[in-house]
């Protein structure tokens, strides 16, 4: 992806736990304040995917050391939010366990299911989702394309 041109990217680094979700929303708000031309629909799509991927990372990448609080403190998750001509994007990186996931195999569970929708919802909300393991870190990239400016 090209670097965003208009403004600096928004970066947050938070402990990899569910309570940190409260720190993610203000970062998203900051992005919308800096890019007030992004339509509501596209904002909602990125927000949905950001929350689902965040929860997925917290619940899966750090599952193994859940029992040890000291270990957990060392677990951090970085989020970069940016907007460019191509769209709005989010990049998560974390030092948790590698994700054993094939995104091409993810499907939306049936309407009776009470769980297991997170990644399917992220995929449905996004124009592009990718996962890579680079240098011992997980990297998730999320993209919502925005309509060209009039």
């Amino acid at each position: 992806m090209p670097e965003p041109s208009a403004t600096e990217a928004i970066r947050v680094s938070v402990p990899a736990g569910l309570p940190s979700l409260d720190l993610v929303y203000p970062a998203l708000e900051q992005l919308w304040e800096a890019h007030d031309g992004v339509p509501l629909r596209e904002r909602m799509r990125l927000e949905t995917a950001v929350v689902e991927i965040f929860v997925n990372i917290v619940q899966h990448a750090y599952r193994a050391d859940r029992a040890d609080p000291a270990e957990q403190d060392a677990r951090r998750l970085d989020l970069v939010l940016a907007a460019s001509d191509a769209g709005i994007e989010a990049t998560f990186s974390d030092n948790g366990e590698p994700a054993e996931i094939d995104l091409s195999q993810v499907t939306m569970p049936d309407t009776e299911s009470e769980s297991g929708r997170g990644l399917a919802m992220a995929l449905a909300a996004l124009d592009d989702l990718s996962y890579e393991r680079i240098g011992g870190r997980n990297r998730w990239h999320l993209l919502v394309r925005t309509p060209p400016a009039a």
């Binding site: 629909r41 927000e47 949905t48 689902e52 929860v55 939306m108 299911s113 769980s115 919802m121 909300a125």
Partner: protein, 111 residues
């Protein structure tokens, strides 16, 4: 971050209005609230989602669990007045097919 307003209306129908974000952090409370109401004899429930600004997969799971709980008790669960964000999630997951959103709280059990 979230408030669940509960009111018991006419005809034994209970209304839960989640105000704020229903997420993995707060969905458990919604699921428990529905279970408590059903156990207390209120198996006909309307979830007024006009002020629900965000619904994630866990929140959706709580609604589906609630629907099952209500139906097992001979009642039902209806969603009314979904916000734009909630509507998007219902459509994206096809849940709008089994939980068709109603236009009003008072008329949610009319059809």
């Amino acid at each position: 971050m979230i408030e669940y307003d509960v009111s018991n209306g006419e005809d034994g129908i209970s209304v839960i209005a989640p105000r704020g974000r229903v997420t993995v952090v707060t969905a458990r409370r919604l699921k428990d609230l529905i279970a408590e109401l059903v156990a207390g004899g209120s198996a006909r429930l309307v979830i007024d989602m006009s002020e629900t600004t965000f619904l994630d997969s866990s929140g959706l799971g709580a609604l589906i669990a609630g629907l099952k709980t209500a139906r097992q008790a001979g009642g039902d669960l209806r969603i009314a007045r979904p916000s734009e964000a909630v509507q998007m999630v219902l459509e994206m997951t096809n849940i709008d097919k089994v939980l068709q959103p109603r236009e009003s709280v008072t008329g949610a059990f009319d059809a």
